[in-house]
């Protein structure tokens, strides 16, 4: 099968976590003997050809990051310029990734995504949600490869019939919520480790203030300018 993959990420392709996930996913598609072509909506020059590809192809996958409980504004803008297909036979699936670890954080967006294929004259191939992806670009090549590895298998399984199977979702789209023990650890010692790591990454990026700075409070602005991390 041939798949049209449209990235709804706002971040440019070279810095996009979604793009990295798509690359691993496509490796899996290819391992199963499928072909794919990817368009990135962060590059507006690609919109015209992405629209044509949507119109002319039957197997469409949107890959996107969760943005304020729904799709990123640029993807919504792109969707608004599409017309509903008149000829039956097309199917749209979604690969949704987010920074929070719980899959449940993506359910509100999923509810919206489910409505889109019918509005665009297509069938629905399911939504695959994966959390804990924020650190993908920050944690180094080894950890990045580990985090991306499952997407190769997810892509291979998706390529078998062009839709997300329930078994794939049950195996990889986890956890729905954190366990009590995970919550206890996250709100306990891990919280300090997380803060230390974030301050480290921030400093590497050139950050010169506290990560919880309040720049629009005059008093805080003064304090944070004096204090460095």
């Amino acid at each position: 099968m041939h798949f049209v993959i449209i990235s709804g990420a706002a971040r440019t392709q070279s810095k996009s976590n979604t793009a990295k996930i798509i690359a691993a996913f496509c490796e899996g598609l290819q391992n199963g003997g499928n072909t794919s072509k990817i368009w990135y909506l962060s590059d507006r020059k690609q919109w015209k050809s992405a629209k044509i590809a949507f119109e002319e192809n039957e197997n469409i996958l949107f890959a996107l990051p969760l943005y304020v409980e729904n799709v990123p504004g640029i993807m919504l803008e792109f969707l608004a310029c599409l017309s509903a297909k008149e000829r039956p036979g097309s199917r749209i699936s979604f690969l949704l990734q987010g920074g929070f670890p719980e899959v449940s954080q993506g359910r509100c967006c999923e509810e919206f995504l489910k409505t889109l294929p019918a509005q665009l004259g297509c069938g629905y191939g399911g939504t695959f949600i994966k959390g804990d992806m924020f650190g993908l670009s920050l944690m180094g090549e080894k950890m990045e490869a580990k985090l991306l590895q499952p997407f190769i298998e997810i892509g291979r399984q998706f390529g078998e019939n062009g839709a997300f199977r329930r078994e794939t979702i049950e195996a990889f789209s986890i956890p729905e919520y954190l366990s009590e023990e995970q919550i206890r650890i996250s709100n306990g010692p891990l919280r300090y480790v997380q803060r230390f790591a974030m301050r480290y990454f921030a400093r590497r990026l050139g950050c010169k203030t506290k990560l919880d700075a309040k720049p629009f409070c005059e008093k805080e602005l003064q304090e944070t300018q004096e204090e460095t991390i």
Binding site: G73, I74, L178, I183
Partner: protein, 170 residues
Amino acid sequence: MRLLIINTLPKVHPAAEKAICCLTEKASECMTFYTEDMRITPCIGCNACWLKTPGICAVKDDYEQILKAYLQYDVTLFISDTALGFINYKMKHVIDRILPMATMYTRIENGQTRHVPRYNKEFRFGLLYAGKGNQDYLAHWMSRFCLNFHGISLGAFPIEAWEEVCACIS
């Protein structure tokens, strides 16, 4: 009650004009942003507002005045057109840019991870929409959006039902 209105509908929109006029009278102080007069570009997902210049958006356009206004007013009311049953992209661009109001830090509250708020303020957000919006979904989305920004949702209402919002803000 100090009211902030962010209107992404055209200035000449009879229902929006009426709603804004009546809501302005009800509020002790009201500020309205008409985004058609402003340059607001989409969030580029650079994370600078979390990791590089905390609280400050790297995109330099007209958005920063809205960011400051969120902190200065008691209630923010979004007025938006709809598409595909949801708010349209113009309003989503505005709302996507709210990220600097949260910090990069997270903690778990009521079983789900949340960003730690940047400011000590309980936001109150409401939505008035024009067109064929899915009211149940929009109300659900507003409540989720508010939950992650430590705010309270006043709900989502068709623009003709602006009086419902009055009841929430008085």
